[in-house]
Amino acid sequence: MSMMTGKQYRESLSKLKPEIYYMGERIESVITHPAFTPHVNAAALTYDMALAPEFEELLSTKSHLTGEKINRFTHIHQNHDDLVKKVKMLRALGQQTGSCFQRCVGFDALNATYSVTYDMDKKLGTKYHEQFSSLLKEIQSTDIMISGAMTDPKGDRRLSPSQQKDPDLYVHIVEKRDDGIVVSGAKAHITGAVNSHGHLVMPTSAMKKEDADYAVCFYVPVDATGALHIFGRQTNDTRKCDCFLDQGNAEYGIVGGEALIVFDRAFIPWKHVFMCGEFDFAYELVERFATFHRQNYGGCKAGLSDALIGATYALAQVQGTDRASHVRDKIVEMVHLTETLYCCSIACSCQGYAMPAGCYMADPLLANVTKLNVTRHIYEIARLAQDITGGILATAPAESDWKDPKIGKYVDKYMKGIAEIPAETRIRLIRLLEAMTCGTALAESMHGAGSPQAQRIMIERRANLERKKRLAEKLAKIGDQPKLVY
């Protein structure tokens, strides 16, 4: 098998038996449970769109390992065009789902691990890259979905991994055996974890010698013994079970579907271990993964914003405010902010560069700027959407009241905007706007791919302030004056 369809993806998930818990229950199937189906649907679109003629140019490509046609989400970037196409693909998917489609995290984890294992082997004489390339070939040929699991629960943030009272607050090696390693700990906020086929687990921060047991990178199947998943709550999540229209985006949900993955003495065979104590490479892996993941946000969030702007504009028409100059101006501002984010993602892709492994990486400084802008602009775009929508965003009656034989006629009558458009249209748009701007989706823009301070730290590291100082000194005629040569 090479590229799967969405249907085949769902079928492949139904063959797995991962240990998943939600709201106090063990979940038997993510395919049929209403809390999970939107997330499965969104991920399934990454399969179907790769085979659709309209989108195949973005969502599929050729493997540099086998020459076979593969889904781009399993690809290792080979040039600038790959980096740019990644961003365009994410925007196209965001437009179609209006939500997170989850698969970029594993994609970024694959790319970061590919280049770091190469560098490790060159310096240390290890065999990680060869092992990782074998797994990559398998992932490409089977087209399975991989989650990227980086963030540990972290416990007391003042303490390093090895200083924590509870050693499990960071994923760590508890035993090294002839056939592999045994790990314990947890990874938090892992997008798409419950509907992936496996997890690529990476360290979460720079490590010192005393943290060597925490410098660990490995692949683990979702249904491995010793791995369990606790699915997180989202804003209005009970609406998935008791209504349709009030969900706003019933097909694809409001975020990616995040879970806490717990490893309780999970066994990892050596062939799936890609870092085991090489603490001085932990930061490299973190930085490269973060760069790839922050590169994304001006793509996918621009796609989501396209849908949000469309909903806002359509609602303004339904409410008869679309010709008001201040509404038009606010919509223009939403477009401006959206395209600014897209510019950032395209720019960090175009400014990307080749790594020693031969693969390509986005520019880290610009990728961090991209994500930092997302933590602000998406909030502003949402604020403007809420401004134009009006207070009804927070007070609209329930779908069940609209359908009620006795009072439904009042809901219908008083929810109407302009006479020619049915109340249902207005209600649907309001609910979509509510889903996209009120709650978990915004927090995802703030903290997904790292909190704003993480971006600021990386921006400062790469700001090259000394060079900027020299530029100023040259203009102000301070000290030795550099000359241009040649």
Binding site: Q351, Y353, A354, P356, D363, R467, P482, V485, Y486
Partner: protein, 117 residues
Amino acid sequence: MSPKRKPRKVAIKYCGCCNSYVNLSEIACHLVGMEKRHGDFVLVPFSEDKIDVVIILCGCPRACGNKEEFKSRAKHHLLVAGESVNGRATPQEHLIETAQEELENTLNIQNSPSSRH
């Protein structure tokens, strides 16, 4: 006694220097000093014919100067791209000596002084 070898032609080509992370001028100045000390090579304009080595100086890892059009102007090329020399990670403070070593290896020059000036 072997006849004195004709100095090889070395040219420098910059990426364009839109936003250099490193001080490329410093590297170029050092190469000018090397030329005077050695006599094994002569720095020529990039437009010259039959160049032996082209040193492509790029201010950041994007390496905009790393293109076939430039590389094909000479028999050999040496690439500085931000904090790397020929793809090898090199901190800014070691860029000059590493670039010098790479040039010496390419030209087969032995025992040259590596001090900055």
